[in-house]
C-alpha cells in the first residue's frame, strides 16, 4: 500500500510543495499526493501592491488553481473543517474524511479586519481600505483616483503580517503616484507601525526609515491600532494616540486558518502551527509539517520564505517516510524586493540570525542589497513570470538555494 501525503491549502506553499513532491515520488503506487483548497482561484498576491496604482490589472493576477498542479496530484476543492491528529484524518465539508500518512499544513494566513474595533464600520470601503485582498485593492484604486488631497495614512495594525515590507512599498509608491498626478504637495503622508522603527532589524530600519524621510513620509512608531473611527477620520492606538486621516490604508490583524483553531493540538493562540523552526515538524506529531504563512515561525511570512522552506520540507518528508531522523534544517532565509517608486527597488536578504545587511546578492557580483537600483525593480517585475513558471512548478532557482548566502554580505556595517 502506498503512502498518502495530504497538503492542506493550494496557495503558494501548497502548490510548490505538491509539485516538488511529485518529482520526488513519480510512482503513484509508492506515494499519493492530495491537495485541498476551498476555491479555484490562485491569486498572485504580490500583484496586489500594484493594483491600487493602476499598475496591475486584477484579472491578470488570478489563474485556475488545479492548472498549477502537476497532473499526478489529486486536487479536491472543499472547505477544511478540522484535523484529528490522533486519528490522522482531515475532515472536509460535506462529511468527507481524508486519512493521511503525512500532513502538510499550507493554509496560509487569514485577514481579521473585524477584530479591530471600528475597522469594518463606517467608512470601510469608502475612506478606509486594505490592499491585502483583491476587492480591497480594487476599491482602493478607485478611491486613490478620486483623492484630491488631504491626510493619507498607511497603518499596520499589529504583527505578524504577511510580506512585512509591502506596507512600506505602498508608502513609497503612494509618494510616486501622487507626484505623477501633480498633487503630492496637497497630501500629508503618514506611516504608522507597531514597531519602534520603520522595520524590525536596525540596519534595514535605518535604510528604509531614511527612504521614508527622503520622500516626506511622517513615521509614527509603536502605534498599535486599537480603534478606527471612520466617521471622524481618526486611527486611535491602544495607548490613546490619534492619527487623523482622510484616506486610511490599513493592514488588518492576521491569524491562521479558522479550522486550525478548531483542531485540538494543531495551532497556537493565533491559529498558526507552532512547528520546529528548523525541521518544520510539529513537536509531538512527527507526521505533521507546516509551511508558508500557516507556520508559526520567527521568520517573515513571504512567498520567498515558503520557497526556501520547501526544499527542507520535501527532504524531511522523505526522511520521515523512510523512518530516518530528520536532517535538513531551515535557517529562516527570506529574500524580498522592496519597490521604492520611480522604477527603482531595493533588495533585502536575511535569515533567523542575520539581519538584512548591505552588500550584494547572491554573491559579490550580484544585485546590490539595501540600495535602490533599476535592476532590482526589473527583478521585482520579472518575479511574476518566475512565480507562475518556475516557483509554483517547484523548480529550483539556479544559484539561489535554501541556505542564506554569506559571501557578498557586508558585515562591517552591521
Amino acid at each position: 500500500m502506498g503512502k498518502h501525503i495530504v497538503i492542506l491549502g493550494g496557495g503558494t506553499a501548497g502548490t510548490m510543495t505538491a509539485n516538488r513532491l511529485c518529482r520526488t515520488y513519480d510512482d503513484r503506487r509508492e506515494c499519493r499526493i492530495t491537495v485541498v483548497d476551498q476555491d479555484d482561484d490562485h491569486l498572485y498576491q504580490p500583484g496586489l501592491l500594484f493594483v491600487p496604482f493602476g499598475l496591475a490589472q486584477p484579472d491578470h493576477l488570478v489563474r485556475p488553481r488545479p492548472r498549477q498542479l502537476d497532473a499526478a496530484v489529486d486536487y479536491k476543492q472543499a472547505r477544511i473543517e478540522r484535523v484529528d491528529l490522533d486519528a490522522r484524518t482531515v475532515h472536509l465539508a460535506g462529511g468527507i474524511r481524508l486519512p493521511y500518512d503525512v500532513l502538510v499544513v499550507a493554509t496560509g494566513a487569514r485577514l481579521l479586519p473585524e477584530e479591530t474595533e471600528g475597522l469594518t464600520g463606517p467608512g470601510w470601503g469608502e475612506k478606509v481600505f486594505t490592499f491585502y485582498d483583491l476587492p480591497g485593492a480594487v476599491g482602493l484604486h478607485e478611491a486613490l483616483e478620486r483623492f484630491e488631497g488631504g491626510r493619507l495614512v498607511i497603518d499596520v495594525a499589529d504583527l505578524p503580517l504577511k510580506c512585512p515590507v509591502a506596507p512600506l512599498e505602498f508608502a513609497f509608491l503612494t509618494d510616486w503616484y501622487l507626484q505623477r498626478r501633480g498633487i503630492r504637495d496637497r497630501v500629508e503622508l503618514t506611516y504608522a507601525t507597531p514597531l519602534d522603527a520603520a522595520f524590525t532589524k536596525p540596519v534595514a530600519a535605518k535604510a528604509l526609515g531614511g527612504l521614508l524621510k527622503e520622500k516626506g513620509v511622517e513615521l509614527v512608531t509603536e502605534f498599535t491600532l486599537g480603534e478606527v473611527d471612520g466617521e471622524r477620520g481618526r486611527l486611535v492606538s491602544y495607548d490613546e494616540r490619534e492619527v487623523p486621516f482622510d484616506l486610511a490604508v490599513v493592514v488588518p490583524l492576521h491569524g491562521g486558518a479558522e479550522y486550525v483553531e478548531r483542531s485540538e493540538g494543531l495551532g497556537d493562540e493565533l491559529g498558526f502551527v507552532p512547528v520546529d523552526p528548523h525541521t518544520l515538524q510539529l513537536p509531538g506529531h512527527p507526521a505533521v509539517f507546516a509551511i508558508g504563512d500557516a507556520a508559526g515561525l520567527p521568520a517573515s511570512k513571504a512567498g520567498s520564505v515558503a520557497h526556501f522552506e520547501g526544499e527542507v520540507l520535501v527532504h524531511n518528508i522523505g526522511r520521515h517516510l523512510a523512518g530516518q531522523p530528520l536532517d535538513a534544517s531551515f535557517d529562516g532565509h527570506a529574500n524580498c524586493f522592496v519597490e521604492t517608486g520611480f522604477h527603482k527597488a531595493l533588495l533585502i536578504d536575511f535569515n533567523y540570525d542575520t539581519e538584512p545587511l548591505p552588500g550584494h546578492f547572491p554573491g559579490p557580483l550580484g544585485l546590490p542589497l539595501l540600495k535602490e537600483s533599476h535592476a532590482s525593480h526589473l527583478g521585482k517585475l520579472a518575479f511574476e513570470w518566475l512565480y507562475w513558471h518556475s516557483l509554483l512548478p517547484g523548480r529550483e532557482l539556479p544559484g539561489i538555494g535554501s541556505a542564506m548566502p554569506e559571501h557578498g554580505k557586508n558585515r562591517a556595517s552591521a
Partner: protein, 105 residues
C-alpha cells in the same frame, strides 16, 4: 554585562534593563522594577499578567506579544494598556524579570 540591584541583590540585565537570567528574579523585586517603570502600585490585575508572563516564558522561551496576552491572559488588550501604559508586553516582561519578548517579523 550590566547589573542592577533589586531588593538587595545584584542581577544581570541587558542594555535595556531586561533580566537575562529569569531565575534570579524574586517577587519582592517586582514592586521596585514597576516603580522605575512608572507604575506606583501593583494590583491583583497586574499580578495576573506578571505571573502569566513568567509561565509563558517557562513554557515557550519567550514572553508573549500584547495580542497573545489579550487573547490568553484573561486581561483584554485595552485593560493591559491601562495597567501598563507604556507598552504592556515590554513593561510586564521587565517587571516579571524575563528577557525582552522577541516579536515576530
Amino acid at each position: 554585562m550590566p547589573t542592577t540591584t533589586y531588593a538587595g541583590s545584584a542581577v544581570p540585565v541587558d542594555d535595556e534593563g531586561f533580566f537575562t537570567d529569569p531565575a534570579r528574579w524574586t517577587e519582592p523585586m517586582a514592586e521596585q522594577i514597576a516603580k522605575e517603570a512608572g507604575i506606583d502600585t501593583l494590583t491583583d490585575r497586574h499580578w495576573i499578567v506578571i505571573r502569566f508572563m513568567r509561565e509563558q516564558y517557562a513554557a515557550k522561551g519567550t514572553g508573549p506579544t500584547v495580542r497573545v496576552l489579550g487573547k490568553t491572559s484573561g486581561v483584554s488588550v485595552k485593560e493591559l494598556y491601562q495597567l501598563f501604559p507604556k507598552g504592556p508586553a515590554k513593561t510586564a516582561a521587565k517587571i516579571a524579570g524575563i528577557p525582552k519578548p522577541r516579536g515576530c517579523i
